[in-house]
Symmetry: C2
Subunit: 400 residues, 2 copies
């Protein structure tokens, strides 16, 4: 018998994906399933992007430069400059989604067995990229009771070993919606300089900040030119998840040169996606104002309503379009399955992401779920009502 | 000082890419450079593919299924059935180019340090994918004097160690144009069954076979369902390299399930590319007949003319659109640079890929180049004339 790889065997399947068959079964029974589990925005892609395909003027769909089309890189640099990130077109490369930007960053900065410290809970796919590149994720546990703020300098330093090569944050954060303050970033800066390690920052939700809060990019911190790598993507900003276009941004030329060698092996990022991505940079500003206003409304509604449910607690996230909520249940994995398979209210049910998938410390997040507010207010209202009813009858309810 | 990764440091830059500045300098001087170095066909993308973008009917460019759109997978299965590969839509997944199909195959079947045997010379980027996934490439050297045929059973077996997990061929071959015979494939089958290892086959040049030669897919070999993985791509078949759409095809469900776990981390292959790729399956058959006729003409012309040059030898390739030629030079790397930087004939020069980049055995291929016939006959004629003149005056000429 042929065996598959050990790394493939131990690679966990996502707890969300485990739930898919239950959601499908519920739909087959005629139950409406509200998807609070997903990161796919319901917002329209800007028209300029779609039009760039309608007007596509190519005879041959060729490879692009391995670092992306020069015209696109130049426009991206201009865009970053307008938002206070002073970089030029030689300080970034276009990648196949933010996903690939992360893999290329890991490959360029870390060797197999090297460690990257990641605040936990974290975007589950980081673990996948670490696994593909043989990098070890060391979790820095943050807590719902402190609103998922960055742990102290001392707590972070405790995790640093001779194999530690980087700290990797997601800001604003998926899954928590937490927005790191400038003070927290200055603290991280102090640590990475002191220990001579990298600071990677996934900033794909940059545009999604609320209550007038300002996003601070790692690229804005003085004295971090050699240390800082920013991961970016068009997916959330323009609601173009399917383009698979991301960016790796850094002033450290050695990283870019190394990443390019790995990127050359895969030849180029998607050509059509780059054309649509470049066109998207002409999106009128109204688009973002409208999107931001809409998400802000949804967030306020969701958080307020969730906290009204007895035993439920969620902090007020300042960014992205997710929140992590604590539920009065024995096990959120079981509850998320039960609500799909054994429960419905007014012929409706809810799909949520059990937070256990965002932690690697065993036992953490056991009573937490991630809720995305990518549904309109009416749907959110129905979803929360359904959740409230479900919690009131769930057999595994606790009295927390 | 922060250091980049060791794997990034040792990752070789391509010898072709080293030549790019010399080609650019020649162009700046007004010299016409014939590109015999590239794998980007000059053939037009089928109109149905471009039209699918002109008619794009989407409001949101969403993620697709991580294994690719179901409609596309179904049509792909139908296509494979028409060419004698009996698989269904659950026996394949859509990937981000053939490149990603290779990486996912390595990740799913091999652990870090495991070995894959690859006939040499081989497509240089295989080394890049092996490096990204910490897999070791073991070269099986083939020789220009035997037309790059597969070495004997005994030669292959000599390379098998306890860490050997797979043999990986490219058929038809890039860079040699060699088309493996059914007998050679049967021999490989015997070896992989005897040693209980995998057989990976990159078949992206399947449509490019000449002289009525038939391509044999690993998927057609009986009794290899657990062992065989086919890598495929739309890039060459439809001249759509920029779509970044490939396929991983196997009847081994454990491989597909494992590959899917890694693929889920990067969410989905490009959505626009999948739409264009699906539309491309409606390309009228005339398109392929025309393309094949054109390449056949170019190949015959190129090989005949090359062999007329004193001291030059190239075998007659039966597939793909490359050939490897032996030149009467001390060092093909130096010669390929010299012809760009120090030579021109009628204000023309030639860019070729030194074959050293396709070998990892030190010293192999030192007097060989890869020549792609992706130019029209008139350009090929001028290019070969230029090469002939260059060889007659090159200071490092040998008298082989």
């Amino acid at each position: 018998m042929l065996t598959i790889s050990k790394r493939g065997t131990i690679m966990p399947a996502s707890p969300i994906r485990r739930l898919v068959p239950y959601a499908e079964a519920a739909k087959r029974k005629g139950t409406r399933v509200y998807h609070l589990n997903i990161g796919q925005p319901d917002i329209k892609t800007p028209e300029v992007a779609i039009e760039s395909m309608h007007n596509l003027d190519l005879k041959v769909i060729e490879y692009s430069h391995s670092a992306g089309n020069e015209s696109y890189r130049k426009k991206l640099a201009e865009y970053y400059q307008t938002i206070g990130i002073q970089i030029n077109s030689n300080q970034l490369m276009v990648t196949t989604g933010g996903s690939e930007a992360i893999s290329l960053t890991f490959l360029s900065c870390l060797d197999p067995g090297d460690e990257v410290i990641v605040p936990e809970p974290f975007y589950a796919n980081y673990y996948g990229f670490a696994s593909s590149t043989s990098v070890k994720v060391v979790p820095l546990t943050s807590d719902i009771d402190s609103g998922f703020a960055l742990p102290s300098f001392t707590e972070i330093e405790k995790l640093i070993t001779p194999r530690t090569k980087a700290i990797f944050i997601c800001n604003p954060n998926n899954p928590t919606g937490y927005l790191y303050t400038r003070e927290e970033l200055e603290q991280l800066k102090e640590i990475v300089i002191k220990h001579n390690i990298y600071l990677f920052s996934d900033e794909v939700y940059r545009e999604f900040c609320y209550d007038g809060a300002t996003h601070t990019s790692v690229m804005e911190l003085e004295g971090l030119d050699e240390h800082a790598v920013m991961i970016d993507s068009v997916s959330k900003r323009f609601s173009e998840c399917g383009l698979r276009i991301g960016m790796l941004v850094t002033r450290n030329q050695a990283i870019l040169e190394t990443a390019l060698k790995f990127a050359q092996a895969r030849l180029s990022p998607p050509s059509l996606g780059q054309i649509a991505g470049e066109a998207s940079l002409n999106t009128p500003n109204d688009y973002f104002v409208e999107v931001n206003t809409e998400y802000n409304k949804r967030r306020n509604f969701l958080v307020e309503e969730l906290n009204k449910i007895p035993g439920v607690y969620t902090p007020m996230p300042k960014g992205a379009f997710y929140t992590v909520a604590k539920l009065p249940v024995d096990d959120a994995d079981k509850f998320c399955q039960w609500i799909l398979s054994d429960f419905s209210y007014k012929n409706q049910t809810v799909m949520m992401a059990p937070a256990s998938g965002f932690y690697i410390t065993p036992g953490k997040g056991i009573d937490e779920v991630r809720i995305a507010y990518v549904l309109n207010i009416d749907d959110l209202r129905n979803a929360i009502e359904t959740l409230r009813e479900a919690l009131s009858v769930y057999p595994g309810r606790t009295n927390r």
